[in-house]
């Protein structure tokens, strides 16, 4: 199976990167890696697991679930209780295996909920998961036992039980635990796509009825996918609990489910690695952009909608769409068209960002007493100039982009037609 071997360098590279990255941000004064970087990278790992497990449903089985965070959160809650039990000496399980326990707890729940949800298809399925998600989030707020009510439940991760003799007190150790489990989970999920269940899940997604007439009960296929996806989400939740040592109802609330959807979709649901890309990107945006602007939700929302309209196969899908061109060695022909598209595109984005930030500071910022700063220079949100510049950039950039986009499209279609003629075979098309 060449596809399996061919991409193994990607896996190795990713793991190597994950392992080495914190050391690039080593602070020689304190003798530690940057806490911020560790925290963000750790978050990325958990989100990668969340997004990949979500794509088992959305991208691979065609199931639009709105309660994915439920399994992440329940894994977290379970982990807290497991850790507390371990700390009391009642649970002799080493820390390295704890995330698996959390995953199994979520699996149990996913089996119950999955049985209910997969009884229906499409929109009814989505609605049942919506109900489940809201139900669990509300329950987490209400009940004190197990959920701890509004305050959540907390734990201490130094349970002094490790296969490698680690305490998991320092962040770097927790980080490597996350790296290890992210890798294991991702590998397992990738492997799953190459099994009968994984393939039939794809088949059921493409054509529910056809799958029936091949002897498979599509409902069973979906149920199993749902349950397994819950298992992996639970592992992610377990890692969350270990990292933050506290779990509240946010860990299973709707915004996190929405996040999973965003990450999987923007990254690309048609490629296995798409959600990984999405998770990394969204986490970066969240950590980075949200520091600079509190309107990052608008940007993500707009990005999301643009992808839904123009690029439903996500970023990974877009990248892979270049494959036939790369193989034919004609990528160079796209350099100029890309530059021609990127410049007005940049202008458009800057204009849009400008308007959003100006508006935001006009109302919210004023209330919070903040002012808009660009490179340290304060910008007066009441003056006309900044508004004018932004508006011109937006409209001008938009119009220019529209023209360049048509040119780009022509070049692309031309290239594709050439390749098709040369090959004689059908080639994959963009998006």
């Amino acid at each position: 199976m060449t596809g399996m071997i061919g991409k193994s360098w990607l896996w190795v590279a990713a793991v190597a990167l994950a392992v080495l990255l914190p050391w690039c941000f080593y602070d020689f004064h304190t003798g530690r890696q940057s806490g911020f970087v560790l925290s963000m990278l750790g978050q990325m790992g958990m989100m990668i697991i969340l997004a990949l497990s979500y794509n088992m449903l959305l991208g691979q089985s065609g199931l639009f679930s709105l309660c994915h965070a439920t399994f992440f959160g329940m894994g977290g809650y379970a982990m807290v209780h497991f850790l507390n039990a371990a700390g009391d000496g009642d649970l002799p399980v080493p820390m390295e295996l704890m995330p698996l326990l959390a995953g199994l707890a979520s699996l149990a729940l996913a089996v119950v909920f999955g049985y209910m949800a997969t009884k229906q298809r499409a929109t009814a399925f989505a609605m049942i998961t919506l109900g489940i998600g809201e139900l669990m989030a509300t329950a987490a707020l209400m009940f004190h036992h197990f959920f701890g009510g509004e305050g959540g439940v907390s734990t201490n991760r130094t349970i002094n039980n490790s296969l490698f003799g680690l305490t998991y007190g320092p962040s770097i150790q927790v980080y490597y635990l996350i790296v290890a489990w992210t890798f294991i989970a991702a590998l397992a999920m990738f492997f799953l796509t190459k099994t009968p269940l994984g393939r039939m899940a794809n088949a059921t997604r493409d054509n529910f009825e056809r799958a029936q007439f091949m002897g498979y009960d599509p409902r069973m296929v979906r149920f199993l996918q749902f349950a397994l996806s819950g298992l992996f989400a639970g592992i992610g939740g377990g890692l969350y609990a270990v990292t933050y040592e506290i779990v509240t109802f946010d860990a299973l609330a709707a915004p996190l489910s929405a996040n999973a959807l965003l990450m999987a979709y923007i990254g690309g649901t048609t490629v296995f690695g798409g959600p990984v890309l999405g998770a990394v990107l969204i986490t970066l945006l969240q950590s980075g952009v949200s520091l600079m602007s509190n309107s990052w939700l608008v940007y993500v929302g707009v990005l999301f909608i643009c992808m839904v309209i123009f690029a439903p196969s996500g970023i990974a899908g877009l990248i892979l769409g270049h494959r036939p061109i790369v193989r034919a060695g004609k990528l160079g022909q796209l350099v100029v068209p890309y530059i021609r598209v990127l410049i007005p595109g940049l202008l458009l984005v800057l204009g849009f960002v400008g308007l959003v930030e100006l508006t935001s500071f006009l109302t919210i910022g004023a209330a919070q007493g903040k002012t808009l700063k660009l490179n340290g220079n304060e910008i007066d949100v009441h003056a006309t100039m900044p508004w004018l510049i932004s508006a011109v950039a937006l409209i001008g950039g938009g119009a220019w982009l529209w023209l360049e986009a048509r040119y780009f499209r022509r070049v692309w279609d031309g290239l594709m037609a050439d390749l098709k003629a040369a090959d004689g075979k059908a080639v994959r098309v963009l998006a």
């Binding site: 199976m1 399996m4 492997f191 799953l192 190459k194 099994t195 009968p196 269940l197 994984g198 393939r199 039939m200 794809n202 088949a203 997604r205 493409d206 054509n207 009825e209 056809r210 799958a211 029936q212 007439f213 091949m214 002897g215 498979y216 009960d217 599509p218 069973m220 296929v221 199993l224 397994l228 048609t270 075979k425 059908a426 994959r428």
Partner: protein, 250 residues
């Protein structure tokens, strides 16, 4: 008198108040090549849908190899040895041609819902899929997404997927619909080859295909059987002639 492969007893089907099938009875012997013909709207595809379990019957009984199947879900009927193709091509668009065929082989080769056995290591299964592709003359299109095949190629793939599971009773719904003459000839040859020894039930409009392939022809009009028998008898039947030639505009 051995058990008929497919036995249909007085089935009726109504959607709400509208009766589509008004009492159809048919016995199809094992190994028989049976064609169902009739004007548009006669209920031929509905019959198929009822037999294969896609829709529930309103009344009557259907037996497959002596066992009653009319209340069973489609996948169970399929496991009992009945497989069907669709009038509108129904394949897995985003999977490769090879994967389409391999999926069709899975259940009958005992794979079930396994999520622990990697498919790339199942040599026999993969070889079987490749052999089938050669049979369908699609081996040159092996790794292309099925949705990108030409129409005739997709129909061939559809037929391949229908027989892949080794079902003993094959239902083909207008297999040559939309095909040119050469494509139809090729498809006929393919059908004849892959359904050898099995029971074939076919809905068709192309009379050349029908009279070439079928041992027995049943004519369905307004949800009822008006004639059933060997081709020459049906051709000479006055009621059939009236149904096809009389009352052209309703």
């Amino acid at each position: 008198m051995s058990t008929p492969a497919l036995s249909i007893r007085e089935i009726t089907k109504s959607f709400g108040q509208t009766a589509i099938i008004r009492g159809v009875s048919l016995d199809i012997a094992a190994g028989e090549r049976h064609a169902i013909i009739g004007p548009n709207g006669a209920g031929k595809t509905t019959c198929f849908n009822l037999i294969s379990g896609r829709f529930p019957i309103t009344s009557g009984e259907i037996h497959l190899n002596g066992i009653r199947i009319d209340h069973l879900p489609p996948h169970k009927i399929n496991r009992m040895g009945l497989s069907r193709s669709f009038q509108i091509t129904s394949i897995f668009q985003r999977l490769s041609v090879f994967e389409n065929v391999r999926c069709a082989l899975l259940w009958s080769r005992g794979y079930r819902y396994s999520f622990w056995s990697p498919l790339w290591r199942q040599r026999e299964l993969n070889e079987q899929a490749d052999v089938l592709l050669e049979d369908l003359n699609l081996h040159t299109r092996r790794d292309i997404p099925a949705g990108l095949l030409s129409y005739a190629e997709q129909r061939a793939l559809e037929i391949g997927m229908t027989i892949a599971g080794g079902a003993s009773v094959i239902l083909l719904d207008e297999p040559t619909a939309g095909m040119s003459n050469t494509e139809t000839d090729y498809a006929m040859e393919l059908i004849r080859r892959v359904t050898k020894g099995k029971t074939l039930v076919m809905v068709e409009h192309d009379m050349k295909v029908v009279f070439d392939l079928a041992d027995v022809i049943t004519v369905l009009v307004y949800g009822q059987v008006i004639a059933s028998g060997p081709p020459e008898a049906v051709r000479a039947n006055p009621a059939v002639q009236e149904a096809y030639l009389g009352a052209l505009v309703e």
